[in-house]
């Protein structure tokens, strides 16, 4: 794994406001200030796949009852999540489980670098919250037909799974229920734009995720150390 300072995916970096309405920083600030006084047991952090989850019924049904917070921002790559977690989003809370789902937006980065970014986030979470378990979700396939991003995401998953197997503070979960059909295509009924999940697809992804989180929540507290 390349050292942090030469891996752009593992170097904390805020998102630049190129559009002109400062939305990314607004959302980050809201997450920080909104977390004061809340005592979530579960924190979801990541990109649009996390963010959109909050907008559908499945969040209210499955995850609100678990006292979950959602710190997803659409478009985020690993370096953005790293910056956010370093700059206040973990300051006021100590969830038992952090669900991390990020990596698909790391365009231009190699699978090794993306894996490095994800692992850097896992280490950061463990440093700030030693008793928290980090659940890393596998990247979903994307695009209607086979393409290089599907291959990239699969490679990232393989590398991350390997790295996490030696850590006890974190684990990997593959949440793909089999979106790629036998002919290699993905249906728009599952990924309406061949990237983002429909409400029905979220149900399929979240049921096993919910079960896993519940199991983790019911475990006795984590020991110290990696």
């Amino acid at each position: 794994m390349s050292p942090t300072n030469s891996n752009p995916a593992a170097t904390p970096n805020p998102c630049q406001d190129t559009q002109g309405d400062g939305r990314w920083m607004s959302m980050h600030n809201r997450f920080v200030s909104g977390s004061k006084g809340k005592e979530p047991d579960v924190l979801f952090v990541g990109d649009s796949l996390v963010q959109l989850l909050h907008e559908f019924e499945v969040w209210r049904k499955l995850f609100s009852p678990l006292h979950a917070l959602n710190f997803g921002i659409g478009g985020d790559a690993t370096q953005h999540v790293l910056w956010r977690l370093t700059n206040g989003e973990l300051e006021y809370i100590s969830p038992k489980v952090v669900v991390l789902w990020v990596g698909t937006n790391n365009h231009g980065h190699s699978p090794e670098d993306i894996c490095g970014g994800i692992i850097a986030i896992v280490h950061l979470i463990h440093t700030k919250l030693p008793h928290t378990h980090c659940l890393v979700l596998g990247l979903l396939p994307r695009g209607k037909s086979p393409n290089r991003l599907r291959e990239r995401n699969a490679k990232v998953n393989e590398l991350v799974q390997g790295k996490l197997s030696s850590l006890s503070c974190a684990s990997y979960l593959d949440v793909d229920p089999g979106f790629v059909q036998s002919d290699g295509t993905i249906s728009h009924q599952d990924l309406y734009d061949y990237l983002h999940l429909t409400p029905q697809a979220y149900q399929r992804v979240c049921q096993p995720l919910y079960t896993c989180i519940k199991t983790l929540l019911e475990r006795p507290a984590e020991n110290k150390g990696p």
Partner: protein, 330 residues
Amino acid sequence: MRPFGAQVRARSRSTGVCGRRSLFRCYPRLAWHVERVWFDNQTRKRSRSLVFACCARRRTDDLFERLRRACYNCASICSETTSLRTSVDREFIRNQVLTARMSSDETNPAAVPAPVEDVQGDGRWLSQHNRFVQECKDAEPDVLFIGDSMVQLMQQFEVWRQHFSPLHAINFGIAGDTTCNVLWRLHNGELENIRPKVVVVWVGTNNYQHTAEQVAGGVVTIAQLLTSRLPQAKVIVLGLLPRGEHPNPLREKNAEVNQFLCSWLSGQGPAQFLDVGTEFVHSDGTISPGDMFDFLHLSSTGYQKVAKPINELLLQLLEEPSEEKSGSLV
């Protein structure tokens, strides 16, 4: 070169369909000078008012006078006029000229059709476009929604099933699209074989490289393309929503786009403007994440707020009998 024009208002009981053709047939030499002719058909009380407006390429007194007379004579030829009056409505002319300028390819980059380049590497934009083209072969929608993520996301919420599926609506929204992308899609198959009665257009907030006037011109170009390809259809142009948690330049720009659209689409043509964004900015200038979860995209609550006026207008338009429209109209 400042354009100018002449306008004739004629009260008549006919539809004056022949207006534009007669101008050029009767005055062929004038046709060369005339950049655009507008023909408007307004119904007031029990008689119709025909308005011809011409925009000439050069400004000379002689040309102006010839144009005015030509419009006057054409109005009297092609209609059973009860009274004729010529006037020069500078505001009207200026608006029409600006519309013509802003919606022509050569001057407005926001009106140039362009596909999205696949920079990420999974070809999703083209996949979505191709799926819409295929859908045109199978579906018989009464309502077509086209635009960017504001349109696309709507289909993922309950509000679509509740308010728009029952109206036989289809959704051709693609996140990130600009006016250029929507234009390209409409030119390349997304209008084939379908004859919706109403088209709802919602696009413009992603046109970061363009000025407010250019964006509005791009939206108007889309409306014009729709009315020319679907003469029976009515078009609803939705205003751009405010964005960002606090006041910012993009809010001002979107508001400016809406102002242009409101004034350009205020006539009685088949395209009309509907502002659905009036409820989102609170008195302290902020937008709530309860309405827009990322200060741009609508939440389920936000969609409920905009769906109501859209649904009401749709029901109204779907109940009106459709008529063949003639002339070039914004």
